[in-house]
């Protein structure tokens, strides 16, 4: 009984200290670190979470998330910069566009599974990239749309490092919390059932296809949120933000954090931001460094950081469980 109560309290302790660090850190760090590491990591984690969510709970490894994220970014930029729509209207438009795009993709891919699903979604993601390059009227070709500004809330500009960080990180935490809670509902359990045994779920009268479509669309909305925050952070959206390298960037964040761990995306995004920021200062070949890091993680720590943490946690819980019988007797 003691072990049963002990395990969650250790976990909530870890959560509380992480949350505390997330609140205090930006005030201790330089504004460069707050913006270029922490804020970048926070919104990148949202995009990676949309990928990990689909993989973990839906069994769908989607490479289309960056394309959908791009639809969100472009829609915001086109509405706000091109048509002068106020920011809240442009945000709403961007989320609707990303969600509709995800729904369209979902209807196309819902009948494909496994590695084939991966391939089809990769092709869809790259289609968005090539469309934005070849289209001048709407997306302005390879130059993209510069001059995107985050809004002002009263006297606070969301372009400032600390407000931007708190916005991005609180949205990221909200997404994490929302998804975690959603997966405990009837819907979440049914989705996981569809992941584990689609034939059985079908026999039980569930429409597996609908669950997959809904999950993919939801993940698309989340990627769209990341798209809005991302375009605020970058100040520009261009095809080069959606190309294969970028798809791999977000995949690397998800893999470093662990494809089975939503929380892990935060660790993955911070590690990734640190490596890209600091590796580029001592070598031009930082992409090679990233490739080798990715290779090492895939080969030696397939669960990523999240997998390592839960393995250590399990080991600690085991040690505790071995200790407690003696004390309760």
């Amino acid at each position: 009984m003691i072990a049963f109560h002990g395990a969650p309290s250790g976990r909530s302790l870890a959560w509380c200290s992480t949350l505390l660090a997330a609140i205090v850190l930006p005030f201790l760090a330089s504004s460069f670190v707050t913006q270029d590491i922490l804020a970048l990591a926070a919104w990148s984690a949202i995009v990676a979470m949309s990928m990990v969510f689909l993989s973990k709970y839906g069994g769908m490894i989607s490479f289309a998330q960056v394309g959908i994220y791009g639809v969100g970014s472009y829609s915001f930029a086109i509405l706000a910069v091109g048509h002068g729509v106020p920011w809240y209207g442009a945000v709403a438009g961007a989320l609707v566009a990303a969600t509709l795009c995800a729904l369209l993709f979902a209807l196309l891919v819902a009948r494909t599974y496994g590695i084939y699903f991966l391939m089809v979604t990769l092709a869809l993601g790259l289609v968005v990239y090539f469309l934005t390059i070849s289209n001048y009227g709407l997306t302005h070709g390879s130059g993209g749309i510069p001059g995107v500004n985050p809004p002002h809330l009263g006297s606070i500009s969301l372009a400032q490092p600390i407000p931007e960080y708190f916005l991005d990180s609180s949205v990221a935490f909200a997404v994490l919390l929302g998804l975690t809670l959603l997966m405990r509902t009837q819907f979440g359990l049914a989705l996981q059932g569809c992941r584990d045994n689609p034939r059985k779920m079908r026999a039980m009268g569930y429409s597996v296809m609908s669950y997959r479509v809904i999950a993919f669309t939801l993940a698309g909305s989340i990627a769209g949120i990341g798209g809005v925050l991302g375009v605020w952070y970058n100040g520009i959206i261009a095809p080069s933000y959606l190309d294969l390298t970028r798809i791999i960037d977000f995949l690397a964040i998800a893999v470093i954090g662990g494809m089975e761990s939503l929380e892990g995306t935060f660790a993955g995004a911070i590690i990734y931001a640190i490596v890209t920021t600091y590796a580029s200062s001592f070598t031009d070949r930082y992409n090679t460094v990233i490739g080798l890091v990715l290779l090492a993680i895939v080969m030696f720590a397939p669960g990523g950081v999240g997998g390592l943490v839960s393995r250590v946690g399990a080991r600690l819980a085991l040690a505790k469980a071995q200790l407690t019988p003696a004390s309760t007797e």
């Binding site: 092709a123 289209n135 893999v255 494809m259």
Partner: protein, 287 residues
Amino acid sequence: MEEFALTTLNGVAMAALYFLVAAGFSLIFGVMRIVNMAHGSLFLLGGYLGWSVAALTHSWLLAIVAAGAATAALGLMLQQGLLRHYQGQELTEALITIAVSIVIADLLVATYGGLSYQIPAPVPLGHSIRIPGTALRYSSYSLALIGVALATGLALWLFLERTIWGVVLRAGIDDRQMVAVLGLNIQRIFALVFAIGAGLAGMAGVLDGTLLSLVPGVDSSYLVAALAAVIVGGMGSLEGSAVGALVVGMATEFGIGYFPSYAEALTFAVMAVVLVVRPTGLLGKAR
């Protein structure tokens, strides 16, 4: 009318290149269930190597042979050194090829920079010829390219249909466990298919570097063309790759020729229709 005929010929020439990339990609997927994300990188690497060899020796033939051999050897190393230990773990295999593709792409940028390179066409194919029976003139190199793709397709077909290796390989596509149970050395087949696929990609790189040009980014555009071709045509089938490559090549060229802003949308639309009507591709087997 002349524009239409030229666009069609361009489409067939693009399809020839796409086929050479897609056939290897599709065979590797068909036999090993590996989505080889490094296929585009092998393609670009082959192109650059071919350029270097051609610059040194002034021989186009030597360039394409060297590029094919080098990328086949690299593919073999990738399969034997890394992928072999993760057989059946599809995501891990895809991620390994992604990591390798990042490293290859970055090292290519380090070596060749961002400039565009063109490989001079072999001397007898440097000009255009009149197509018999018409007033149309067309690049003899592009016509030769179509011939090379046809010959390669025929050779692959003969290999698959008429040799004992091909029989084992096709059996491996249908049921690789059964093949292994029968005591056939499936590992050797895997290695062979990977080498052939990688070598074809490298040779296609040289052919593309002669037809168009080589720049960073070409790797992902050919990867996506190969993806689209096998999604449309069907996975693991040689005929499927040919049909898919033809559809994608035509869609690309007609898109560029007639509505350039939405050229990719046409390829996408074709792919979407195929996915809705036949999720396994036009010639793919239902699984």
